[in-house]
Symmetry: C2
Subunit: 389 residues, 2 copies
């Protein structure tokens, strides 16, 4: 098996699994209980949160643990005034309080739409159109959501530049006595593994991170929340996570997340070099392709187009050779929806239909990369012969 | 160690852990991906949901998987008309659309309060006051939430009787042309392990279940949703769980939940007999106590009061002997709040301050039960001697 869909899911690493294991069986106590072994669990849980937070230059108390990126993204949007959401709905939006990048994941697009959000354009290279952003920020704007790394192209957005623009607007607002909040949220689900993330350096107020994309367990994520952002819980109850996310803590999940963050940090530079080398090697050995994500992207993302060939057919043919690749984000793929990301960067329908996403990861080896290039070459050649009759 | 707080947390059983393990490491694929190994995961996930659903007499498509009982409880309340929630807040409630039992867990109490909910009284034996229920149901009532088993006393509520009352009211409403919904929700988190639950027999429209209380993993629960109940998602995104709960599926968690449900069902009768025997044995060997939950409760719940002795001090003294018990629900205990449940059944403050909750479970043995009675007798005697100078 050659698995090249690490942006969709990663296996739990051996070290992560070993770290989690005792918290399922022996160290199972409820962190809220009063006796010593439970207090030890509460301590371990906080220590794990501190390690996750440390990975993005934050403190444990800045994090709200969630069941994944989708919940964290939705939680981030509770910073918006609920009355405004109603108004946006009722008025079929006048001026939007939310801006989001048009290439965002569905969990941002859907929640932004609920709030009457407006989309910011991207350039053909996948980067945010900063002029469009500037044009669309009004005195009503409260929240701007831009993923650090796009989940289909791997495009790394210049968040620090966005933060600079926001800072200038905030100064201007202050001068003019406009005291509406203006927060920057970023979904960094795809980024934590290969970018050295620091919330202060990025200039974000809210940051979504996710264990399942970095060799941690599924069903665990977190939202970093700066002191400027005031959120409301999506669900209420026992008051865990500072009242922002009630429910008994998923201790094994969070311990695993912490180990996954620590491992990511430890191997960050090595992995980047490795993936950059593999990407180059792969493309050198691949024939007759068009590379979609040429620049500004994570080294483990390779998005390709094969002229005149249907990518879904390629996925199927490669599957027969036990090579597993994607045509787009897994959740969009399962619904048979044309990629909004590839549309946004201006690809023609035929290009979109022919696009494959390969995301390299820890299950791969150099031999696999070379083998994949060879297999794709063969499959594409056969398919072209078949199509051309 | 003698652990007697199984209502707060249970360890993941060996069989559950073994069932989950491959889905962390080898079978890690995203269920939404297009290739065969991922489709196998999607199939396993659905099969696990079917097994969970089967455990309560339902179908996989009736379940929404959540991150636990709190989220499921909150999701249940989305059946309410959002406009009415706003109106309830604005008017400081006129007639409430929500009724809930006064002894409910915080995750119900808090969300019910947000909707201007009204509490139904319990009798001194902990059972619902059906006359109070009847009196409080109006033509405005849309949702009634009553836990099948109380988490502090283990009291089993007569849900089928409640369902009968609701059915009569619905018939009456129909005759009078009142077409407002009237749904019955029950949090069965504590019950799935020792009661043979069937949604049709209980007559519920919405049912919360939870893996973490039945030797399954933390961070996984589910809400059963009948066809009559129309819910709205707490968080939006990729559209998983029929659009009611977006986010990549927690496959290992759900597989573990399914195994925990299957194991619970398999050992239901044996465990009930075992706990009933242990409860009897324990009480026969215990001295100078008052039993709070005399009747109508799960056999593994023992709530005791020792006159003139502070329960928190007992928890501490027992902890020194490595016997772990609770004073109330773990999440309430950590906040130092007096139990609203014990208050509701009419206990005096001194009784509440002296109340211990012991919940028996699979980590126990008959020897442990006998040892615990002996240790509590000694500790209580010493403490009485100390208090009386």
């Amino acid at each position: 098996m050659i698995y090249l869909d690490h942006a969709a899911a990663t296996p739990v690493s051996e070290r992560v699994f070993r770290a989690m294991k005792p918290y399922f069986t022996d160290e199972f106590f409820n962190p809220s209980a009063a006796y010593l072994p439970a207090k030890k669990i509460a301590h371990d849980y906080e220590a794990a949160k501190a390690e996750i937070a440390h990975g993005i230059g934050a403190k444990a108390s800045d994090l709200v643990i969630t069941a994944g990126a989708t919940e964290a993204n939705n939680l981030a949007f509770t910073c918006l005034d609920a009355d405004k959401k109603e108004a946006a709905r009722a008025n079929n939006k006048t001026e939007s309080s939310v801006l989001y990048l048009t290439t965002e994941h569905d969990s941002i697009r859907r929640v932004a739409e609920l709030h009457g959000g407006e989309a910011i354009r991207v350039l053909p290279n996948g980067l945010i159109d900063l002029n469009d952003l500037k044009k669309k920020i009004t005195d009503e704007t409260e929240l701007i959501s831009i993923a650090l790394v796009n989940n289909e192209l791997g495009t790394i957005q210049p968040l620090a530049e966005v933060a600079t623009i926001i800072r200038e607007i905030k100064i201007d607002r202050m001068k003019r006595g406009v005291n509406r909040q203006l927060l920057l949220h970023s979904d960094a689900s795809q980024a934590l593994n290969l970018l050295d993330i620091n919330v202060a350096r990025l200039g974000v107020d809210l940051l979504t991170i996710n264990a399942a994309k970095i060799y941690g367990p599924k069903g665990v994520g977190a939202l970093y929340v700066s002191h400027d952002a005031k959120l409301k819980p999506l669900a209420v109850g026992g008051g865990q996570e500072n009242g922002l996310r009630s429910g008994t803590e998923n201790v094994p999940g969070v311990v695993g997340f912490a180990k996954a963050v620590a491992e990511s940090k430890e191997h960050l530079n090595g992995n980047r070099k490795k993936y950059a080398k593999w990407r180059k090697l792969f493309l050198e050995n691949l024939k007759d392709y068009e590379l979609i994500n040429k620049k500004h992207c994570l080294d483990n993302f390779i998005v390709l187009c094969f002229d005149g060939i249907d990518a879904e057919r390629l996925v199927f043919l490669l599957e027969e050779k036990e090579v597993y690749v994607a045509t787009g984000a897994a959740c969009a793929a399962s619904k048979g929806v044309r990629s909004h990301v590839l549309t946004a960067i201006g690809l023609a329908d035929s290009q979109i239909a022919g696009s494959l996403r390969l995301t390299l990861g820890e299950t791969n080896s150099e031999e696999q990369i070379l083998a994949t290039a060879k297999i794709i070459n063969e499959v594409v050649q056969e398919e072209r012969a078949r199509v051309n009759g």
